[in-house]
Symmetry: C2
Subunit: 133 residues, 2 copies
DNA sequence: CAGCATCCCGGTTGATACTG
DNA sequence: CAGTATCAACCGGGATGCTG
């Protein structure tokens, strides 16, 4: 059942050591997915552009500095656009690019898996703790 | 095209603030995926059990301590099994559980996306750097 | 062989306060 | 409003040395 997956994974992790290449596709994407806030930002922008403060309030609990960092990194990687309006007070809109929006698919697969299996994971943890007691 | 994804993502990130619940499905899985070595370990085990040293050499560049940490965390979460043989010299086999193997699917989706789009990301980075110069 | 104990370093995260 | 500046705290991660 995992033969196709196995092949794909091996191609990435075993093939020619590219898993240790910092520019390896796996690495680049995984680093961004693994980032605590990127997924939230994508979730916050899937249904339209938002302003900085709107994002902040929507996500909640994120420091301005960190949000800025996340946003800049995503902009740098072409996942979203940053539009500055020359007016007072300042206004900046953030919107997903096609690329950024297309990441929603893989993320959704992951979150689907998570929803399906998180119970098993938590059960495994409980059992593990129980065993070592 | 992203309407279904949008709905799913919103359910996870917007729904009821569970994105900030440490036990939120998204969080748990993302933390594990985001881990530098977990994906490599899965890739190393998809085609059968391996011993500690075999894993170490296969993955390469991972300190024993860190590999142990990763392995333990994955065992704790029911992603793999750890089998100790009472013999001298010691022997420990690691193998993916069904749960662990099933994570290969979502990971493959992610890596597929990565392979398809990493060029765009890198191009976006270059362009970004060029612009600010 | 497997892996734990210890020490340590650097980068990242975050809270707080301030500004164009 | 949309950040930047600054400082403090916190691990992830690695090197080394030792054991059952």
């Amino acid at each position: 059942m995992v033969t196709k997956q196995a092949a794909e994974l091996r191609a990435l992790t075993e093939g020619r050591g590219n898993a240790f290449d910092p520019d390896c596709p796996t690495r680049v994407v995984l680093d961004r997915i693994g980032d605590k806030w990127t997924v939230l930002v994508i979730g916050a922008l899937v249904d339209g552009p938002r302003r900085f403060t709107a994002l902040r309030q929507h996500i909640g609990g994120v420091a301005p500095k960190v949000l800025t960092q996340t946003l800049r990194a995503m902009e740098r990687d072409g996942l979203l656009t940053r539009t500055v309006y020359a007016q007072v007070p300042p206004r900046v809109d953030y919107a997903l690019t096609d690329l950024g929006a297309s990441l929603g698919g893989p993320i959704a697969v992951l979150t689907d898996w998570a929803e399906l299996n998180v119970a098993k994971i938590l059960a495994a943890r409980d059992e593990f703790v129980a065993q070592e007691a």
